[in-house]
Symmetry: C2
Subunit: 574 residues, 2 copies
Amino acid sequence: MRLVRAKLLERYLPILQWGRGYDRTALTNDLVAAVIVTIMLIPQSLAYALLAGLPAEMGLYASILPLVAYAIFGTSRALAVGPVAVVSLLTAAAVGKVATPGSADYATAAITLAFLSGLFLTFLGLFRLGFLANFLSHPVIAGFITASGIIIATSQLKHILGVPASGHNLLELLRSLFAHLDETNYYTLAVGLPATAFLFWVRKGLKPRLLKAGVKPRIADILAKAGPVGAVVVTTLAAWLFGLKQRGVAIVGDVPQGLPPLTLPHFDAELWTSLLGAAVLISIIGFVESVSVAQTLAAKKRQRIVPDQELIGLGASNIAASVSGGYPVTGGFARSVVNFDAGAETPAAGAFTAVGIALAAMALTPLLFFLPKATLAATIIVAVLSLVDFSILKTTWNYSRADFAAVAATILITLGLGVELGVSAGVALSVFLYLYRTSRPHIAEVGLVPGTEHFRNIERHKVQTDPAILTIRVDENLYFANARYLEDYLYDRVVGDKDLKHVILMCSAVNEIDTSALESLEAIDHRLHDMGITLHLSEVKGPVMDRLGRTKFLAELSGRVFLSQFAAVKELSA
Amino acid sequence: MRLVRAKLLERYLPILQWGRGYDRTALTNDLVAAVIVTIMLIPQSLAYALLAGLPAEMGLYASILPLVAYAIFGTSRALAVGPVAVVSLLTAAAVGKVATPGSADYATAAITLAFLSGLFLTFLGLFRLGFLANFLSHPVIAGFITASGIIIATSQLKHILGVPASGHNLLELLRSLFAHLDETNYYTLAVGLPATAFLFWVRKGLKPRLLKAGVKPRIADILAKAGPVGAVVVTTLAAWLFGLKQRGVAIVGDVPQGLPPLTLPHFDAELWTSLLGAAVLISIIGFVESVSVAQTLAAKKRQRIVPDQELIGLGASNIAASVSGGYPVTGGFARSVVNFDAGAETPAAGAFTAVGIALAAMALTPLLFFLPKATLAATIIVAVLSLVDFSILKTTWNYSRADFAAVAATILITLGLGVELGVSAGVALSVFLYLYRTSRPHIAEVGLVPGTEHFRNIERHKVQTDPAILTIRVDENLYFANARYLEDYLYDRVVGDKDLKHVILMCSAVNEIDTSALESLEAIDHRLHDMGITLHLSEVKGPVMDRLGRTKFLAELSGRVFLSQFAAVKELSA
């Protein structure tokens, strides 16, 4: 009993497992990783809060308590949790519908969204419903992330140009940008453009150059990751020294100094109803992204993660975000890889990162007053453009037109009509196309390969057939979506074939027969019987046969069930 | 070219095919069938119009031009088209949302609904989209019809009791009936109860008794079918003689005499939008019902119907209904069987029935003035109670719990929340449960049966295995919904197994690998590689291999693809 309880505790609190063996080496490695991730996370947190339409400090708050919660409940040793680009965009889309950006209601709605998302994730985890995320196919996710990256980058152009612009899809954004193009603030542009160029260069060119100059790889890596911090420092100093605020350059301004405040989600039925759909979407997209990076990193060290416990970990993080002034968070791809590469050994690295961000929130916020928003926008643009990857279109076009259709629809609808509709359409279309394909399964008429006991497609092989016997092989489960298709196929095939006496349904590729298909088989049997034709089955799989045995179908079948197709033809020919 | 045009014409106008060989025998048989169906259809048409909340004459109108349209465009030789119970109920539910029963708007909305349904059916037929109806599984239909039958019968009790009552689901109906129970009109009850009892007796007891008394089977059959007409005549006379109208018995009253008027659907975007969902539902349910009876009857004579042309036939019927004062129609089960049994040989029987109903509309309508509504309610109750059949619950419980869940949900939601929600929930649930099952496929670890080349589940058979080789067989297509499941399964299985050097994925039951599954296989390969394990495939089907050949997966795979599982194990063991 005690053992069971201890095991249960360990399952729901993975910290008890890894915490026991925690030693000095792990501590050192986790601390080093935490420092690097903290440096990377400070500008990102501020920037993504801006993207979500929230005050900059909420980005920092979302990077403190949620990381501690994940360290307790999460199973990945390397996942770095916090605000990420796509979830910030989804937050802006959802919260923008119920409140005005900049208002107190807007922040409260974002906090409530984090709470709902946390509840939903925890619910999925406790009831082991993580499989629901599987309905989001890889190509749909890839298409969605690419389209989101484009929308996010476009939405940040207004900060680079210093113009007001808004919109929830690409067309709206571009139209709005063009309408305000003549209002471009050239001082802002003079900050934003070089910052963007610099960050691109840091990402692509800095590390190789440092390595060439003889800098140690580890140091080169840290310096490259610190690029955004460099941009922040330089542009903040510039804004202060040259009084750019007076020239119309938007700056971050007052950021409250200190630890996150205690907040509570707004308990209002109407607000919850209007945010629920977005919470589900954010949860599932966040989970899918998070679990795939966690799984990849775990595999490299032959460790494992527990997807259902990951749901609880992410759920706890989001609830933590909602009580400490944050907004929806999830595991970030780039920062998790950085965390892993920097040597993080346990989730404690995340907790140390939280301490680092907390120190920043307490000490550094006054220094952020003059930080130009254009710099943060540049950080976002450079980060999200690396997510944009149209190669999935080419891959799917070559490999599967159905997947191509789902990706293309996801990208076009996300760009044209917005993120929520885009991803929903992608999921619906990929489910529909899968059902459509299984609703018209491959059906082959087969005959005996001479000299063997094998039966093959009469259109592809030289085979023996008997005009009195028709054998049909269906390469798919028989279920409601294709039951009538089989009826129509068989029926069209036998009408007018006067010599036919026996039809054999070869079931070697049928893993399931549902009630609809069973009724169709009964109907086929009756109709064939009315035509003077007998229906037989062959090579029915064990579990399928077990279930058929519980019905009256086998007793009422006009023909017989043969163990092998060869036995069936041998007997019926005789 | 001419031949092609003639063939196309014949495809879209089946009348050109059967009309050519039309002879005297066929004419006689069709005329006899038409007389019997007309007798059956007159009271039914009036009753179903009442059920739909429409004036009685609209039921007659819906049984004239639509039958002619079907005779021209339909492919079934026996299908009898007209107003049916379930579609009338769906019409009442849909039209009741946009207009008040009894108003002119209500009738116009019903006409518009027929027009939309006709357009949708024709659209499906022209673009060969009939497969969409397959997503309505047999058990869901059975459950829906049973629940609808109960709702219809309950809704008619108010006419038997002579009380006002209303509601769109069972609870509302029962609550409303009980609230008005003390207002029961006993004169109405004195008409309704005996009429119901008589009709039940005619259905169950009359024919055997007539046969016993030496009446010829054919005559006995016609007399039994004429039962409702008898009830109509007797109760109408009673209402006239005893002045029942003055005693509070509701009667049909004035029915306009003459042929159907020319009507037009209401072209209003808002009305169309609010009726569209119902039109889709009515179309698909009507089509499914219609095509299954048509197929069954055609098979008995070794004839065939063309489902996509049936859509056009039903579409034309509904458009015909909308221009001649009718409301949505479809092929009725009972009347088609009667038509078939009575000897109908071609769709001309339907056209002759239309003439019969038209004569009735011109000559008999004044006689219907005193017809008590209770008699029509009794006709409906007796007709629909034969549709109520809970055996599907037992069948599915024994055979497939997933199907049982879908049926139970359909019945409960239809009864508790209404028809439209009920059938939609049933479809959604059955699709979801199918995907759910395929998302957790049967996965077996297999080993070599000693002395053979066969590989079987290690849990069920005594087989040889090698600690360095793991072979996994997945009994399902690999696609997005189960891609991650396979990843998790494999990953959990290999972590901690230090001896493992090779994993073989046996693909003999895999008919498809989609892009998501391909990416999962790539991820599995990379992760296994990171663990020092090699991934191999065996027994990949031809078409699947063809597609894989178009990707870089095979080139980058750490292991090899073996034609047979035996070859794989032989080579890797060596």
